[in-house]
Amino acid sequence: MNQISHQRINSDLLRPLFQTSWRFYLLVGLFGSVVLIALVAWLSQAYFGFGITGIRWPIYWGFYVTNFVFWIGISHAGTLISAILRLVDAGWRRPVTRCAEVITVFALMIGALFPIIHLGRPWLAFWLFPYPSERLIWPNFRSPLVWDFFAINTYLTGSVLFLFLPMIPDFAVVRDKATGLRKRIYGVLALGWRGTPKQWHRLESAMSIMAVAIVPVAVSVHTIVSFDFSMAPVPMWQTTIFGPYFVAGAIFSGIAGLLIAMALLRRFLHLQEYLLPIHFQNLGKLLLVMALLWGYFVFNERLVTYYGNEPSEMAVFWRTQRESFAPLYWTMVIGNFVLPVVLMGIKYFRTITGCVIASIGVIVGMWLERFLIIVPSLGHKYLPYTFATYRPQPVEIIIAIATFAAMTLLYVLFAKFVPIISIWELKTGGPSERMGPTRQHSSVGPVLLDRPRD
């Protein structure tokens, strides 16, 4: 790779760090205010009492748990792209890998807030952590919520490290290009990185191990989140399909989130030469596959329920399909299945715009899917005297909207301080298409293995 390409890549990808327009401040101000409003809303819930939400007997979980499952689901974007595509050596992942991993980390952080937000006594949330207390009492390891605690923390730790490690060489580039205070800060962040073969080799080995480790963790995390439902004898909850169903749904919504993020970055950071239509098409094909997989799981779940014809399950079944929840249910089907299959299945529509439209449909559809798993079942369990409806209240709606604002805010801030496309990984890839070369490892000895570079 010649000097001009190097310098070009450096200047293109470092421009957002060194140049700030008024739009940045506007976005931060706007989304920051929404997040602050939500914080005030939550604090007022803690102060005035949980009763200001719409939660009621017997529907004890509503918007908060929906958001929890939704955002943990979105977090599977990064794992798929960074880890799985890295493991199968798919070179086209290179410009996309950090965008995806950033979504993972921030979506996890947002999702992981909800187990605290939805607690009746959130100031005691630390009891979920296993620490020796003078009362000799520990958390209940048999509870799905404790599994959640361990799984999400493991995944968050792994994802943060998986995101941060490949940022180190890029921090070194920023350190070299910056001056003054910025140079010193990035110098600290770069941890004295130089770029010797030893360091590169260690880094790549560590990344491979992390990729291998993070995939089962990601699968386990959303399976465990699904256990929050399948461990309770609630009609249409106690089904073994929830594990794989949730994981597939998570990867599905993650890809959709990634497509939207990529389209926005491409537009607003002028990355048209790095995020190419082929990237969108490849991810669009993945979106299609996941849409079909989602349809397969829904068909499975509903056919088996329908065939069993158990009264309490069928009551919930019809509630979603025909009765009070039908508008939401069919919107979900259109958003999750019809739209992505049509738009991503027909090559003519598989453009960047098509991908974004399909992805927005999936985001809406997947949020509704989480809601429709939780609320119709809880409002219609076994005893007719206890059937009820749930009405979300302003505090829940504000917090739900604010999660999207928070995600955008964190993303905008990240793109300001860290190159959103991994510079060194991009350079490691081939010239024009940024498709990575297949690695050829030499035997020991001064044999020159050369790939002609322009």
């Binding site: 005035f48 009492g49 949980f50 009763g51 719409g54 939660i55 009621r56 007997w57 017997p58 529907i59 004890y60 979980w61 187990p115 939805h118 607690l119 009746g120 006594r121 959130p122 005691l124 949330a125 009891w127 979920l128 009492i137 958390p139 209940n140 048999r142 509870s143 799905p144 919520l145 404790v146 605690f149 929050d228 461990m231 309770a232 004898p233 609630v234 809880l378 369990k381 076994y382 005893l383 007719p384 005297y385 206890t386 009820a388 009405r391």
Partner: protein, 227 residues
């Protein structure tokens, strides 16, 4: 070791609601006001479910008092992350208010919907605060609460009997609801004692368990003639 259980005779229940009132009084359960009750915030540890069956003029009215069934295979217990909901040695499902952080998973898991959440700090208008039972702790906002089979009465009577060096007699101690029931539809006692009234009633041919097929192994037997 006793195993506490109840029997509810649906043929005797008149739906008067004395059990509900007695429970509120005994266990310091606050009322929440009409508005909050309308949005499902009421905390009736025992409630009388009323069902209308049939078309006019052949309408039948059925009452079923439902309280915590203290299931031996309770779905609410394994899911609590802090062991606030667990099973005691005498067969009760205990709810430890101090340990509850309010995840409300137990309430979702309960098929009988007999678990209640304190949405606000309970309050009693003066002079009702003078009527509070000193043997029962007050709950604060954010914790779950439910029927305890009047565990304070169980403990008090057990301690008194032990101090006198004798065993508990059947009928010596009663839950508030069973004590208040005018038609003696509710019976409380020790299922381990085969001669106790609740044991005999649980073996009755009119007896059945509520939602038995969910597999919770409840300890309340409902008696009714199949009509």
């Amino acid at each position: 070791m006793p195993r506490w259980g109840m029997a509810a005779d649906l043929d005797k229940c008149t739906g008067c609601g004395a059990c509900v009132t007695a429970c509120h009084a005994e266990n310091n359960i606050s009322t929440v006001g009409a508005d909050q009750a309308a949005v499902g915030r009421a905390k009736h540890w025992i409630r009388v479910e009323r069902y209308w069956e049939g078309e006019f003029p052949d309408v039948r009215l059925k009452f079923r008092p439902v309280m915590c069934q203290h299931c031996d295979n309770a779905p609410c217990e394994p899911v609590c992350p802090t062991y606030a909901s667990h099973h005691t040695e005498d067969g009760l499902n205990a709810q430890v208010y101090n340990r509850c952080i309010g995840t409300r998973y137990c309430a979702n898991a309960c098929p009988y919907n007999v678990r209640f959440f304190d949405f606000f700090n309970p309050s009693w208008e003066k002079p009702l605060h003078l009527q509070l039972n000193p043997d029962v702790s007050l709950r604060e906002v954010g914790v779950m609460e439910k029927c305890t089979f009047c565990v304070q009465r169980i403990k008090a009577t057990t301690i008194a009997a032990k101090a006198e060096g004798r065993a508990l007699k059947d009928g010596e101690m009663n839950t508030a609801c069973a004590q208040a029931c005018p038609s003696r539809a509710l019976v409380f006692g020790d299922l381990e004692d085969p001669e106790s009234e609740v044991s005999r009633l649980s073996r009755s041919s009119r007896g059945s368990k509520l939602l038995e097929d969910v597999g919770t192994k409840p300890k309340v037997t409902y008696l009714s003639r199949q009509s």
